[in-house]
C-alpha cells in the first residue's frame, strides 16, 4: 500500500444508518477510502453491501450519517451538484447494466452527453470512446450491440464506460460474479492495470476471496450492517475469529 496517501480520505462514510421498515440494514457503518487505495468490502448476501454503495452514489438516501466524497457531503448537496460529483466516480454494476437498446459506442458516449465542460467536440468524444475501449481490449466491438457480446466482454465494456470520464474513484459491485475463473482473472488484471494507469482509488464489493487477495490493499468485513473487522488480507485471513474465518474457508 506504498502508493496510498493516508492523509485525507477521498471518500468517507461516517455512522451510516439505513433501515427498511424493521429491517436495519446498516448500523453505524464507517469507511474511509484513501487516494490510490484498493479497499475491498466483503460480506454475506444481505449484509448491506449493495445498500451501502447505493447510498454512496446517492441512489438511496441514508437515514442518518454522512457520506463525504472529495470534501463534499453528498447528503446535503443539491441534485445538480451531486450529478457533477458523480462524474468523479466510476461505477461498475454487478450485471454490467449496459443499455441494451444502444450500441457499445452509444453506451460509452452516454455518460459524456452532459459533460460539455470535459468534452469540447465530437473528435475528442471519439478519442475518449476509443481510448476507453482500447484499455479493456475491445476496440473492435464499437458498433456491436450488448446482446452480441459474451458476459465477460459485457463486463469489460461496462468497465470502459465507468472509465470514460476518467474518474478518480471507481466502485466495483461484485466485478467477478457470474464469470468463469479465467475471465474473472482477466477482469482482476484489468482492474489492476487501470489502477496503475490512472492512479484511481477503488472500492470493491466482492465475495471472491481470490479477487480480494490479488487486488486489496485493505479489507473491511461487513457483518450485520457494521464493520466487523478491518485489516489487510493477510491479517484477516490469519485471524482466529470464527466469523472472520468463515469468509476465507474454501
Amino acid at each position: 500500500m506504498d502508493a496510498t496517501k493516508k492523509i485525507n480520505p477521498v471518500l468517507e462514510l461516517k455512522s451510516l444508518h439505513k433501515s427498511f421498515g424493521d429491517n436495519h440494514v446498516l448500523k453505524d457503518f464507517n469507511l474511509k477510502l484513501f487516494e490510490g487505495e484498493n479497499l475491498v468490502v466483503m460480506g454475506k448476501s444481505g449484509s448491506g453491501k449493495s445498500v451501502m454503495i447505493k447510498c454512496l452514489v446517492g441512489l438511496i438516501q441514508p437515514d442518518s450519517g454522512s457520506i463525504t466524497i472529495k470534501n463534499h457531503d453528498i447528503t446535503s448537496i443539491g441534485h445538480s451538484e451531486l450529478d457533477l460529483l458523480r462524474t468523479e466516480i466510476g461505477f461498475l454494476f454487478q450485471g454490467s447494466a449496459l443499455y441494451d437498446s444502444m450500441t457499445v459506442r452509444e453506451n460509452l458516449e452516454f455518460p459524456l452527453r452532459r459533460q460539455t465542460h470535459k468534452i469540447q467536440d465530437f473528435e475528442s468524444k471519439e478519442i475518449l470512446v476509443k481510448e476507453a475501449l482500447e484499455n479493456v481490449g475491445l476496440a473492435h466491438t464499437l458498433d456491436l450491440m450488448p446482446a452480441e457480446l459474451s458476459g465477460g466482454m459485457q463486463r469489460r465494456v461496462a468497465l470502459a464506460r465507468a472509465l470514460i470520464l476518467k474518474p478518480k474513484i471507481i466502485i466495483y459491485d461484485e466485478p467477478t460474479t457470474g464469470l468463469d475463473p479465467i475471465t474473472a482473472k482477466e477482469i482482476i488484471a484489468l482492474m489492476r492495470n487501470i489502477q496503475k494507469k490512472y492512479h484511481t482509488s477503488s472500492l470493491i464489493i466482492t465475495h471472491d476471496v481470490d479477487c480480494a487477495r490479488v487486488i486489496s490493499n485493505r479489507m473491511i468485513l461487513l457483518v450485520d450492517g457494521t464493520n466487523y473487522a478491518e485489516g489487510t488480507f493477510e491479517e484477516l485471513s490469519n485471524a482466529k475469529d470464527p466469523k472472520i474465518q468463515a469468509f476465507f474457508k474454501n
Partner: protein
C-alpha cells in the same frame, strides 16, 4: 369470501397508487419544462410510437369501419334510412368509436411495451447506471415517452378514423352503389367542429394517459423478471380503465362547452 381487512388494505393501496401516479405526473410536468430538452430521444420515441403502431391502427380502423357499416345497414334499411349511413358512421367514428378503440389498441401495443422496456431497464440496473453517470433518467426515458404518446396518439387516431371511413365507404360502394365522392361529401357535411375538436382534445389526454401509466409502471418496477411481466400487464389494465374514465369526463365536458 374476502376478509374486511383485505378490502381495507386493497382500497388503501389503490389510493396510495393514485397518489403516487399523481406525484409521478407532477414530476413529469416539472421535468418537461426544464432544460435540457432531449429532442433527439423525443424524435426517436415519436417514431417508435407512431410509425410502429401505424399498421395495427390501419388494419383495426379498416375492419372497424367495414364491420360497423355491414352490421348497421340492415337496421337502417328497415326504416328506409340507409341514406343516413355516411353521416351516422362518420359522426360515430370521429366522435367516439375511433378514438376509444384506437386508444385501447395503442394501450396494448405501446403502453405494455413502455412498461416492459422500462421495467426491464429498472431490474437490470440500467436506470441506476444512467443516474450515476450524471444524467437524468426521468427526463431521458419518461418525459420523452409521455410526450411521444401525447403527440402521436391524436395523429394515429385521425389516421385510424380516415381508414375506418374508407372501409365503410367501400361497403357502401359495394352494397349500396354509393360513390366515394358522395359518401365523403355526406360525411363531411354531417361533421361539425363540435365533433372534431372535442375528439382531438380527448385523444391528446388518451395519449398522455397511455404514456404516463406505462412509464409509471415500468419506472417503479420491482421484484425482478416477475415484476417486468406485472408492470407490462398492469400498464394495459390501468390504462384501459383510465381511458374510459377520461372518455366519460370528456363527454360531460364536451356537453357543457359544445352542447353535443
Amino acid at each position: 369470501m374476502p376478509k374486511p381487512t383485505s378490502i381495507k388494505s386493497r382500497s388503501q393501496s389503490f389510493f396510495i397508487e393514485i397518489g403516487d401516479l399523481t406525484l409521478f405526473a407532477g414530476q413529469f410536468f416539472k421535468e418537461a419544462f426544464s432544460l435540457p430538452f432531449e429532442f433527439k430521444e423525443l424524435v426517436r420515441q415519436c417514431y417508435n410510437v407512431g410509425n410502429r403502431s401505424l399498421l395495427l391502427v390501419g388494419v383495426t380502423g379498416f375492419i372497424l369501419g367495414l364491420v360497423f357499416t355491414l352490421q348497421s345497414r340492415p337496421t337502417l334499411m328497415e326504416f328506409g334510412a340507409e341514406s343516413w349511413m355516411p353521416s351516422m358512421v362518420g359522426i360515430s367514428i370521429v366522435r367516439e368509436i375511433g378514438p376509444v378503440i384506437i386508444a385501447l389498441i395503442c394501450a396494448g401495443r405501446v403502453g405494455s411495451g413502455i412498461g416492459a422496456e422500462l421495467g426491464s431497464m429498472r431490474v437490470t440496473e440500467q436506470i441506476d447506471a444512467m443516474e450515476v453517470s450524471g444524467n437524468n433518467p426521468f427526463k431521458y426515458l419518461v418525459v420523452t415517452r409521455i410526450l411521444a404518446t401525447t403527440l402521436m396518439l391524436p395523429l394515429l387516431i385521425i389516421t385510424g378514423d380516415v381508414i375506418a371511413l374508407l372501409g365503410s365507404a367501400i361497403i357502401e360502394n359495394l352494397k349500396g352503389n354509393v360513390s366515394f365522392v358522395l359518401y365523403f361529401n355526406q360525411v363531411f357535411d354531417a361533421l361539425k367542429y363540435s365533433d372534431i375538436i372535442p375528439a382531438t382534445i380527448k385523444s391528446i389526454f388518451f395519449g398522455f394517459a397511455i404514456g404516463l401509466v406505462g412509464c409509471y409502471k415500468g419506472y417503479n418496477c420491482s421484484k425482478g423478471t416477475v415484476g417486468v411481466g406485472e408492470a407490462s400487464n398492469s400498464a394495459v389494465v390501468y390504462t384501459s380503465m383510465l381511458l374510459f374514465v377520461i372518455d366519460f369526463i370528456a363527454v360531460f365536458v364536451s356537453d357543457i362547452f359544445f352542447e353535443i
